[in-house]
């Protein structure tokens, strides 16, 4: 055991929407190279970062994700020539929209990771996980999901009273 294990109070749920040609292959490389990275990210493989509809991100937050990471090929490297250019524009608008809606944009990460950048991949995932862990649970949406959460009484407290 080379690494000590730290136990945290809060383990974030992170969704990753990644391009299969670059970031997913990069993650593959990280895995086959036995690199360590945070296990909190749940990855969804998509054909291209241009395929990542902002709807996916909205849905992920609705379903209780604490952070979302979107990743694809570097500009100019797209397998479909231009998908990531569209993604870049779309996400610029989408981040501003989320910010205006009151969702901290620190919970939303966008990065270019190529198939060879396994080290960058592990660094980005680790850094983002720590960032979201510091922010804590996505309280805004937790309240939306269960409006009565604050009024709930634990059964042990009830019996004590």
């Amino acid at each position: 055991m080379s690494k000590g294990i730290i136990r945290h109070d809060f383990e974030p749920k992170i969704m990753g929407f990644v391009c299969k040609w670059c970031t997913y292959s990069g993650a593959d490389l990280a895995g086959t190279s036995r690199m360590d990275y945070s296990p909190h990210v749940r990855m969804v493989r998509l054909p291209c970062s241009g395929r990542i509809d902002p709807q996916f991100v909205i849905k992920a937050f609705e379903q209780g994700a604490d952070g979302v990471i979107i990743s694809g090929c570097h500009p100019g490297d797209c397998h479909y020539n231009e998908g990531n250019y569209y993604a870049r524009r779309r996400n610029l608008a989408f981040r501003n929209l989320m910010e205006f809606n009151g969702i901290d944009t620190k919970r939303l990460e966008f990065s270019w990771i190529s198939a060879a950048e396994a080290i960058k991949f592990t660094q980005i995932i680790d850094k983002f996980t720590n960032q979201v862990r510091e922010l804590g649970p996505n309280e805004g949406y937790r309240v939306l999901l269960d409006p009565y959460a604050s009024r709930l009484v634990k059964s042990s407290e009830e019996s004590a009273a």
């Binding site: 909205i58 996400n91 610029l92 929209l97 009151g102 966008f110």
Partner: protein, 297 residues
């Protein structure tokens, strides 16, 4: 002004050049006007045009309404400057061909914010906020314009007009989220904001699709957040800012704040103003390899 438009509309309907003229007529009470489809030349006598004409008529030109499919080869439409920008945007998005419509334009003095506020005249107290920074009071692209059309400088940037926006952007994220949560709590998903919009072009809206169900159908705050974010995202770079979504909202949610904010972002990032050109494509359906951003790691 309206007399000349009536005359011209009558002439074109009689000659058969136009199949229908869409305009405004007196409504159910003196403070309201209603959209009218003039099929017969004598119907044109009912046309009115003043500060009560709030509806954005180009919504009828949108393909989802299927009016263009009724066998009408050429539709006449009476537009305020902002409506004509919506038509220009529809043409830019290939939703409409320019030669399918005949645009009657007229100088606009502004419209009332809501028919309820109409007290016989238009003044600062009841004028819609979008009219304060309007540069298309003399419409941009018309087929018929009564009198001479003066040249207007329209090169200025897009200006946000909603007063609530300035206070909202100063809030921190949590307060802003709470603001929207309180507002969206009232939404019962009547989809009036979608129905009045000239740019919602999908034949089947994503919220009406249930397999898979991307937007929650229930009028639960979670689904309401999803719906309004989706709606705003679909209109980025396309909304021409007619403000009908806010006016049509039965529970007074200022849904066009999202649109106005995004218009500002698009203006800053891509130097694009929607509804001014039929050739320039909206920024999100095109790209530039030299785009700059500051959020990607």
């Amino acid at each position: 002004m309206i007399e000349q438009i009536r005359e011209k509309a009558r002439e074109l309907l009689e000659s058969g050049e136009l199949d229908v003229v869409i305009g405004y007529a007196e409504g159910s009470d003196p403070s309201r006007t209603t959209p009218i489809f003039c099929r017969k030349p004598e119907d044109t006598d009912k046309l009115v045009l003043d500060g009560r004409c709030v509806n954005t008529l180009p919504a009828y030109l949108n393909k989802r309404h299927e009016y263009p499919k009724k066998g009408w080869k050429k539709t006449g439409i009476i537009g305020k400057g902002c409506d004509i920008r919506a038509i220009t945007q529809l043409v830019a998005e290939n939703q409409l061909k320019r030669d399918e419509v005949y645009i009657f334009g007229a100088e606009c003095e502004g419209v009332v914010a809501h028919p309820e506020k109409w007290d016989g005249s238009l003044h600062e107290g009841n004028c819609a906020s979008k009219c304060s920074s309007c540069d298309v009071k003399i419409p941009l692209d018309t087929d018929f314009y009564p009198g001479e059309k003066p040249e207007v400088d329209r090169s200025g940037p897009y200006l946000v007009t909603a007063p609530a926006l300035a206070t909202l952007v100063k809030m921190d994220d949590e307060d802003r989220f709470a603001f929207w949560r309180d507002d969206f709590d009232r939404c019962f998903k009547c989809y009036a904001c979608r129905e009045v919009c000239p740019h919602c072009s999908c034949n089947i809206c994503i919220t009406d699709r249930t397999m898979p169900s991307w937007v929650d159908q229930a009028a639960h705050t979670k689904g309401v957040f999803g719906w309004h974010l989706t709606r705003a995202m679909h209109l980025v770079g396309r909304c021409t800012g007619c403000g009908e979504c806010t006016r049509a909202c039965p529970v007074n949610i200022q849904v066009d704040l999202f649109n106005q904010k995004m218009k500002e972002v698009i203006q800053e990032s891509f130097d694009y103003k929607s509804g001014y050109s039929m050739e320039v494509k909206p920024p999100l359906i095109t790209y530039n390899t030299d785009d700059t951003e500051n959020y990607i790691r």
